[in-house]
């Protein structure tokens, strides 16, 4: 049974999506439970795999039983079919993606019933398909298969965003253009790699590349690397390819944003990490002429620009999407620092940021559900109307700011440590600046929602009735917020048992 666990991770949501779409025709109310069931199976499998991987190392699975063939003279056995691998790099992300998807599917029930009445089954089918695509990207061991899953996820996300109606159509269209451009660039890069190495399997490619680099035939590989990198950057909305994200997430239905925002961009960052760390080796990265400093400058720019824009936003969902943009800068910069703390920070931050963004969008979703609006000015007195939600919101913002002991503090610590070690001071400054900007925004919200409101307990002041979010939305939000603290306290365990082993041995300490 345990050998089948990797494929079960993908099959769960895939079957859930298909079944939800079909049974939804005659029994619309079944679509949601089917999707939740599929995600639960996937999450259970992913969780089990974490422990297996922590004990026994990477787990490989070959689709269709094609297996691998030992070829005399080759270091790695040659893989004929499509391989999926669960190793130290992606096992945590698999748990994060499936776990967040599971919580979000439970959470979005109410939102979907109100915002998307009559179309629930389509929404949930697309939801499950999106998660299939994301899990597929994370788990696959084949670079072309990654493209396929990438497009599965992308098409589902275009449709999910378009459910927002109104301005969402244009936003989805722009996202489609940018996303397809990114995917095509990625595909082109894969073409170059394939042309030079003759194989698509990640393990095989990574075994062949060092020899090619040393023999001087590296121009095509370099072009391939740059193209794949550009493709990943377009998919993760890294500056300067970020134009599509704020509109897309702001105009998407709140339920759609709740699943897209935490996961889509992080999986794209994972793609970049996989290419950097496993396919091309880390020495290649360090010797890439100019790319490293370019990536670091772009990261700092991304963080600074996103922070400044977030200060001027009045719409909560747009504000949150600018936060997402700045967090992407953290991860790309951390990865391109190419030293142990930097890369550790990037890997920790992928999981931490997925959790933080999910909690943030869940809290915002609760507010939108009850207040019907998402403008900052509409938050007057929200601390009295929805105390539990706002408590979770404050914890999430504290995590984004980087207040210990939440997970945001520890990932920021690693990133700053890595940047200090590498002497990249503009990145340190950008990280600290974004923390301060987020602090300003948090306290502005506290002022609007609490301080500036006439206190209802004083006689003569208008009473403010409690209007807390429904339990099905509140419990996932609070659970996610508490999870941020648990993740923070458990960072050390995670780093020691899993992430440290994912770092390539040749990395600078």
């Amino acid at each position: 049974m345990t050998e089948q666990l990797p494929i079960i991770i993908i099959l769960g949501p895939l079957l859930g999506a298909v079944l939800a779409a079909f049974t939804g025709w005659f029994r619309p109310r079944l679509s949601h439970p089917l999707v939740v069931l599929g995600l639960a199976i996937s999450f259970a499998a992913a969780l089990k795999l974490v422990f297996i991987v922590a004990d026994a190392g990477a787990q490989k699975y070959w689709l269709g039983g094609w297996g691998e063939k030992v070829v005399p003279g080759q270091k790695e056995p040659f893989v004929v079919g499509i391989q999926i691998t669960v190793d130290y790099l992606n096992t945590l992300l698999l748990v994060a993606v499936s776990g967040i998807a599971l919580l979000t599917s439970v959470y979005t029930r109410r939102l979907v019933d109100t915002e998307l009445a009559g179309r629930q089954r389509y929404f949930y089918a697309l939801f499950s398909l999106l998660v299939t695509g994301l899990l597929g990207i994370t788990i696959t061991g084949d670079i072309f298969n990654l493209y396929v899953f990438m497009e599965i996820a992308a098409l589902s996300s275009y449709a999910l965003i378009a459910y927002g109606r109104g301005r969402a159509y244009m936003a989805a269209f722009n996202y489609l253009i940018m996303g397809t451009m990114g995917a095509c660039l990625y595909l082109l890069g894969v073409g170059f790699v394939f042309a030079k190495t003759g194989t698509l399997n990640i393990d095989n490619v990574s075994a062949i590349i060092p020899a090619l680099l040393n023999s001087g035939q590296s121009q095509a590989l370099f072009v391939g690397f740059v193209l794949i990198l550009l493709g990943a950057w377009a998919k993760m909305a890294f500056f300067p390819f970020h134009g599509w994200l704020p509109n897309a997430y702001a105009h998407a239905p709140t339920a759609g944003a709740a699943i897209l925002a935490p996961l889509a961009t992080k999986v794209a960052v994972y793609t970049m990490l996989r290419i950097m760390v496993t396919v091309y080796s880390i020495e290649y990265i360090i010797h890439s002429p100019g790319i490293q400093s370019l990536a670091l400058y772009l990261s700092s720019l991304a963080i600074v620009i996103a922070s400044f824009f977030s200060l001027t936003q009045t719409n909560l969902k747009k504000l949150a999407s600018y936060f997402v943009l700045s967090e992407i800068g953290y991860m790309v910069g951390g990865a391109w620092l190419a030293n142990k703390p930097g890369l550790t920070g990037a890997m920790v931050h992928v999981v931490a940021d997925a959790a933080m963004t999910s909690a943030l969008f869940m809290a915002i979703g609760c507010i939108v559900y009850r207040l019907g609006q998402a403008q900052l000015d509409d938050l007057k007195g929200v601390f009295f109307k929805m105390p539990v939600t706002m408590a979770a919101f404050v914890v999430t913002m504290a995590a984004l700011i980087g207040v210990p002991p939440t997970c945001g503090f520890f990932s920021k610590w690693y990133l700053i440590q890595g940047a200090a070690q590498a002497g990249v001071w503009h990145f340190v400054a950008a990280l600290l600046l974004s923390s301060l900007v987020k602090a300003i925004i948090l306290f502005r919200i506290i002022e609007i929602g609490y301080n500036r409101v006439p206190h209802p307990a004083i006689e003569g002041n208008p009473a403010i009735p409690r209007n807390e979010a429904p339990l099905s939305m509140l419990i996932p939000t609070v659970a996610m917020a508490l999870g941020l603290i648990a993740l923070g306290l458990g960072t050390s365990t995670l780093v020691n048992t899993i992430i440290a082993k994912a770092l390539p041995a040749a990395l600078a300490p």
Binding site: P405, W413, L432, A439, F443, E447, N451, L489, T491, S492
Partner: protein, 494 residues
């Protein structure tokens, strides 16, 4: 140095956190709520005193809760300095709570449960800082203190309070995130270790430029210590109700700042590094001296009583920093001793300011002429408090300033002697006229004076307790000095 493994430090911190929870739950019954606080404070004091004998002997209580980063974790260690600071905070919590009851209830202030809740959390954070074994734990509780005191500062929730709160956070969060955090990470990256170690954590031969940069980042990063130019949050925080200003901004918050700097200077840099690197100790001493003199001068110009006290606090904190910067045993001992002495003196002064406001609504010195006749007890307490801060016998402040003066003579910065004396004169110049005007000047506003009556006993009794404390500290200074000396001996090389 013998270490004792014990969960007691964690119990001590947890006691006030549990009290906070009980306060939140039992908010509807004010008397029950307040008795929870007294019970918690009493238990804490008891636990703290139980630790005292071993600590005075030179032993340490340690407990590591969990590892958070490689080689650094959430860990507690109780030594003489930490224990003394914790004792001061907790023992002053009791009179402040009595005062808060007397102050807030008659004025029918709102949200008292919230007030006592965050107060208890703030005390827990302060004790957490006192017991930190490494820089990371200290940072965690330092930030917790900033965040938990924000609702206290903005308690009145009017425009002034919000503005004051904004300034408060901008200075405190801004400096800790922008300066202290990167400095801490750089120390970790250079040395792999954040524990407070005798002799510091830096390897020999670390570049002096790096050390200087880190030193400046730490000094300004811990802005709670009020070094100029990051001092402006203190006068801004005076919008808080009087009990908050009294305990937190005269005792807990500012002393946490100064305590953090003492820990960094003695435990991260190390006293011999300071003594042997003239640039380091000079920077500390010069910055502290400038703040000392300038704050005292500004205090002379302030008419608002709380503002004058705020600037006086800024100056007194720099006494402590200057004392540590001297890098001599008596300097450090004097600095450590000044923590409780100044705490008792300043809290008396702030509580008096609150009592004056409650009695007649006066906030400025120009409004209190002749008040001494109507509020003799209050103004006498004020007089004793000012003696303590100025440093005259028979109050405790005299002893700490004595050791500080000695320390300056022992050190390489003998000009600090002159600085200390000048500042003491300035202290007298801005405190004694208040007392004089209160007792001997003709009233400017007789109508207001007629309406004045002595504030309720709940307000006056704490004044009595703390001013008596100032005098008692003088006579029992030997016991307190034992704490200071044990600490100084532990961290100064022989």
């Amino acid at each position: 140095m013998e270490t004792i493994h014990s969960f007691t430090p964690v119990w001590i911190i947890l006691t006030s956190s549990v009290a906070a929870l009980l306060v939140a739950l039992l908010g509807r019954w004010p008397n029950v709520r307040e008795s929870c606080i007294f019970a918690a404070a009493a238990i804490k004091l008891g636990l703290l005193l139980s630790l005292a004998p071993a600590v005075l002997d030179g032993k340490l209580y340690e407990f590591e809760v969990m590892e958070l980063l490689p080689n650094v974790g959430l860990a507690f260690r109780v030594d003489a300095l930490g224990l003394m600071f914790a004792l001061v905070s907790v023992s002053l919590w009791i009179p402040t709570t009595i005062f808060s009851m007397g102050f807030l209830r008659p004025l029918k202030r709102h949200a008292q449960t919230r007030f006592f809740f965050f107060f208890a959390i703030a005390i827990s954070s302060a004790v957490g800082v006192a017991f930190s074994a490494n820089l990371l734990t200290l940072f965690i509780f330092y930030e917790a203190l900033s965040l938990s005191t924000y609702p206290l500062v903005t308690h009145h929730q009017d425009d002034d309070a919000i503005k004051g709160g904004r300034k408060y956070l901008t200075y405190l969060l801004g400096t800790s995130i922008a300066l202290a955090l990167p400095a801490m990470i750089i120390v970790y990256q250079q040395t792999g270790n954040l524990d407070f170690t005798n002799g510091g954590v830096f390897a020999d031969g670390t570049s002096t430029t790096l050390l200087v940069v880190l030193l400046v980042m730490f000094l300004f990063g811990f802005a709670k210590a009020g070094l100029m130019p990051f001092h402006a949050w203190l006068p801004g925080a005076m919008v808080a109700p009087a009990p908050v200003s009294a305990l937190l901004h005269a005792v807990a918050v500012v002393k946490v700042g100064v305590f953090s700097i003492i820990r960094v200077l003695t435990g991260i840099f190390g006293v011999d590094l300071l003594a042997n690197t003239p640039s380091l100790s000079t920077i500390v001493c010069v910055l502290a001296a400038i703040t000392l003199i300038v704050a005292s001068l500004i205090a002379l110009t302030q008419d608002n009583i709380k503002s004058r006290l705020a600037y006086s606090t800024i100056g007194q904190l720099s006494y402590i920093i200057l004392g540590v910067g001297l890098a001599t045993k008596s300097g450090i001992a004097g600095a450590a001793l000044h923590i409780p002495m100044h705490a008792f003196g300043k809290i008396t002064l702030f509580l008096c300011a609150g009592a004056i406001y409650q009695a007649c609504g006066a906030k400025c010195i120009s409004e209190i002429h002749g008040l001494g006749r109507k509020l003799p007890l209050t103004m006498t307490a004020f007089f004793i408090g000012s003696l303590c801060v100025i440093g005259l016998p028979p109050t405790g402040g005299f002893v700490s300033k004595w050791y500080l003066l000695n320390g300056s003579l022992d050190s390489a910065q003998q000009w600090a002697f002159a600085v200390f004396l000048t500042s003491s004169l300035l202290n007298a110049a801005y405190f004694l006229p208040i007392v004089y005007k209160a007792f001997f000047a003709t009233p400017t506003d007789p109508a207001r004076l007629d309406k004045t009556k002595e504030p309720p006993p709940l307000t006056v009794v704490p004044l009595f307790i703390t001013s008596a404390g100032c005098v008692l500290l003088f006579f029992f200074s030997g016991k307190l000095f034992q704490f200071a000396n044990t600490f100084a001996e532990m961290y100064t090389p022989q």
